[in-house]
Subunit: 337 residues, 2 copies
Amino acid sequence: MKLATLKNATRDGTLVLVSRDLKRALAVPDIAATLQGALDNWAQLSPRLAELAAALEAGPVAGEFAFDEAACASPLPRAYQWADGSAYLNHVELVRRARGAEMPASFYTDPLMYQGGSDSFIGPREAIRAASEDWGIDFEAEVAVVTGDVAMGADVAACASAIRLIMLVNDVSLRNLIPGELAKGFGFFQSKPASSFSPVAVTPDELGEAWQDSKLHLPLQVSLNGQAFGHPNAGVDMVFSFARLVAHVAKTRDLAAGSIIGSGTVSNKQGSLNGAKVEHGGVGFCCLAEVRMLETIEQGAPATPFMRFGDSVEIRMHDSAGHSIFGSIINRVEQAE
Amino acid sequence: MKLATLKNATRDGTLVLVSRDLKRALAVPDIAATLQGALDNWAQLSPRLAELAAALEAGPVAGEFAFDEAACASPLPRAYQWADGSAYLNHVELVRRARGAEMPASFYTDPLMYQGGSDSFIGPREAIRAASEDWGIDFEAEVAVVTGDVAMGADVAACASAIRLIMLVNDVSLRNLIPGELAKGFGFFQSKPASSFSPVAVTPDELGEAWQDSKLHLPLQVSLNGQAFGHPNAGVDMVFSFARLVAHVAKTRDLAAGSIIGSGTVSNKQGSLNGAKVEHGGVGFCCLAEVRMLETIEQGAPATPFMRFGDSVEIRMHDSAGHSIFGSIINRVEQAE
């Protein structure tokens, strides 16, 4: 089952079912007006949604219309929780190596996570607004899951079965604000502005064999200004599965339905800087910071600039037949007034 | 205007107006079913709520019933944002002094804030559930505001006028999990379980002269197991006003209506450990950590234990006539199954 939220005059948009090929959509007001509404009562409503999704897939249904990714809000335009992990430790290792710091052994057993702002996400085709390029505007291409209710202390198996939906995310980061914030000791805040999510969120069964052990085993495609920038496999080098990340969040508190949990920047272990670049046959990168870290490690200083006003990033994922699963996130950077 | 949310079968409860003396209540389903619903459309709905609130205050109205603080959920049982500051720098100074660290000069000009989990708050009379007393269970008595929409980059005056409601909060903290989490560099996560808020939230005008310069100038009353533990004035030693905290949050992103912004533990500058204690004429403390820090500074080690299963904390605030403004938060610590 594929789900999306179309923008309307309300803050939560209109929930629609989307055909597997992302071409047709159907609103489901008799079942749930919004995605949060569906998640709030998933056990009761999801069988009815699945039934309609099957009918939509089978052929024309009354009320269906052409699906337009550009008309979408993030599947949850606002959410009650957005917590992001750093499950691809290669990324964290590079961050550390670039500043000459050791990687603490505990990082391999205890997930690094932060609580993000979730009150107003930008849409998958909306602009990243920033007051200044000096903020060091970067994208982070990630996978994220949406959970049902999870009880405090739930084990990894229970957390795995609480994963309701999967989607992609651009976790926008303001790199030049990060050192000052982390030095204060309380973690990210202003350095993590509003994220955006893929037009479509899908249930785990929709991913078939690509969804294994609470990981998504497909390449994540990233383009910068229309040029291929990365296609690391999201199932490779993910040290903590989504179930493990959810269990980390639930250790000391209940999680409510509609909580979004992110993987952190997808990052595959590679050789040298040059070998890692897409144009040299590598799998490339899911954020600018990573290529800048490799430049720092190998050349003494970063050379690749962060995003400038007018730059645009696209994030998408194809199934084994080459079809887009989630639609594309395309965010262009604009100067805020 | 005083507002509360009664528990019902839904996740968001029922919005009610509450009389100034906290004795009578009135549901307002024709205006807004939930507090978030009212906040989503505040400009249009708040005049109608104010009109009904005035009628409730004036005398018996059809449909009114006895208000029961114990039947309340937190005013927003779940919220799209909960961001907490550390506006009372005396608290931060003590944290630093207790571990022999300097206070960075920037702390006096740049607020320290963290993003908290907001997907499922506990109710004002519900238990703090913890798996182990070894987590170092502590309360933090604070004041919090609920905002309307705030545009990215809004100035302090615009942020001041976006404050819709004021309430009290118990920002539950698991002190023994904090050092490990802060050492990881990404801030609090498991160390900040679900918070609880006062039964009643009030509009700024309800506070009269006690609401000045986006600060609440009244003593915050804290009792531990029925004994007075603190009554520092929330208007004293608050280095950053709520408007200033909201502006900090809005620097790089829009804030959506219903965002909750906390003050951090209320803390007044005092003399010695003994002088600070309520039983010695001091204004006492709003968390156990603070008395433990003074014990560490003066005696070399903390002596006061954190909360144990069965312990209970009460947080409330009285107006100048001695009447409770927000009702009481009363949270008892229980062992999670």
